[in-house]
Symmetry: C2
Subunit: 215 residues, 2 copies
DNA sequence: GTCCATTGTTACTTGCGGTAACCCGAGTCT
DNA sequence: AGACTCGGGTTACCGCAAGTAACAATGGAC
């Protein structure tokens, strides 16, 4: 029962409006960080709050809509790095670097994505521990787990191990990147090298310092 | 000049009161999560908001005061695991396990510590990227970096490398722990084993799956 | 022309963090 | 004793944010 070309036209019109709103929201969020107010966003878009709510339901909805765009872009970058036909170590380096380039060039976007600011939703009581600061990180972890599981021969329990590794590596990348971004203690290349060394087992093979406890 | 033993007595009295308030706050935070309201906490303590503010300045102050207790306890546990006179690999396993035991037994505390909920402070504009979800994680990263740097011979740039590794490992532990806690895909022992394998360079040595791209 | 969906408004409610002004009881000084 | 101050306590408020009616205007469909 679609109403001739009406619904189609209207459809694209509201879609376009929605995109405009998202772009306004993005400008404000990039300026004010994740605690940008709905009022400010509405003002930037030249309108008032209630239409924002009509389009996105609540603040979480807006932020989620905003997030998917950047998330998708980042994921695409990571996937191409992850699929490059080179040595495994080079591939790992390229992937780490892709992530770091992303957070380096758009730190405000990064900050926004990693901290979607209170998208409360589920029941309050239970054990929804750590739901914060990371739908994106969890997704990255799962993606990486899939790649690992698809390409490496991890034997029995391979699935389990791949997921642990996926989330672990993503967490390592994130924490190191976060720290690096705020302290800038070295070049990006150096950081990538150190991290890859860590993943390549240097922690196991490096020698004790003379005078240490000798274990 | 000090008023006889008066100020001393009063001192301990206010200290005790402060502890009582902190305990009330803890009960509420453990029940409501990090977004527990000051009103609720005051009610639990049987008083009203302004005295909370007299004692702790603002919400961030209260939460910081609450955090140091648990943080100190956790740090103490980690340090003893980190100082055990055993093989390096066993020490790493023990440390990972100590952390995981902590988050497993008190998930609400863990959630609270990892997400101190908006302790805004610094100027709004700038590049304070990623300040969220981690004064504790950053501290852990620095502590671990120090241990690494003190005990291992990392050659030139050893300091830099130790810090990257410290933050990276902590991030890995945190992300994997967070994911594990909410999905419980395996036993704690298995998780520790997988993570240690990862740190021990298994990612580098494991074989490609047959039919893979062969790199 | 009439209908209805969509875009927009103003004006409100609720709940939060935080503060100002005042109250009162217990010890202190003279 | 009486004045004095000091710290724990209260009520009542401000400002601001999210979110919600309830109502106005525009414009295509029939």
């Amino acid at each position: 029962m679609d109403n001739t070309q009406h619904s189609g036209r209207r459809q694209t019109a509201t879609e376009r409006r929605r995109r405009e709103l998202l772009e306004a929201a993005e400008r404000i969020v990039l300026r004010d960080g994740p605690e940008a107010s709905m009022n400010a966003i509405a003002a930037e878009a030249g309108i008032t709050k209630p239409i924002l709510y009509r389009h996105f339901g609540d603040k979480g909805g807006l932020y989620r809509a905003l997030a998917v765009r950047h998330t998708d872009a980042l994921l695409a970058n990571l996937r191409t790095a992850l699929d490059a036909p080179v040595l495994r170590r080079d591939r790992v380096e390229a992937t780490l670097d892709a992530y770091l380039v992303a957070i380096e060039t758009r730190p405000q976007v990064y900050r926004f994505l990693m901290h979607p600011a209170e998208q409360q939703g589920q029941a309050e009581s239970g054990f929804d521990v750590g739901r914060h600061s990371a739908p994106l990180l969890r997704r990255l972890g799962e993606e990486l787990a899939k790649v690992i599981s698809d390409r490496l021969d991890l034997g029995p329990e391979g699935e389990e191990r791949a997921r642990v590794w996926g989330h672990g590596i993503v967490g390592m990348m994130h924490a190191a990147g976060d720290w690096w971004l705020r302290e800038r203690p070295c070049s990006r290349e150096k950081l990538v090298e150190h991290l890859t060394d860590l993943l390549w087992g240097q922690l196991a093979t490096v020698k004790d310092l003379a005078g240490g406890t000798g274990f």
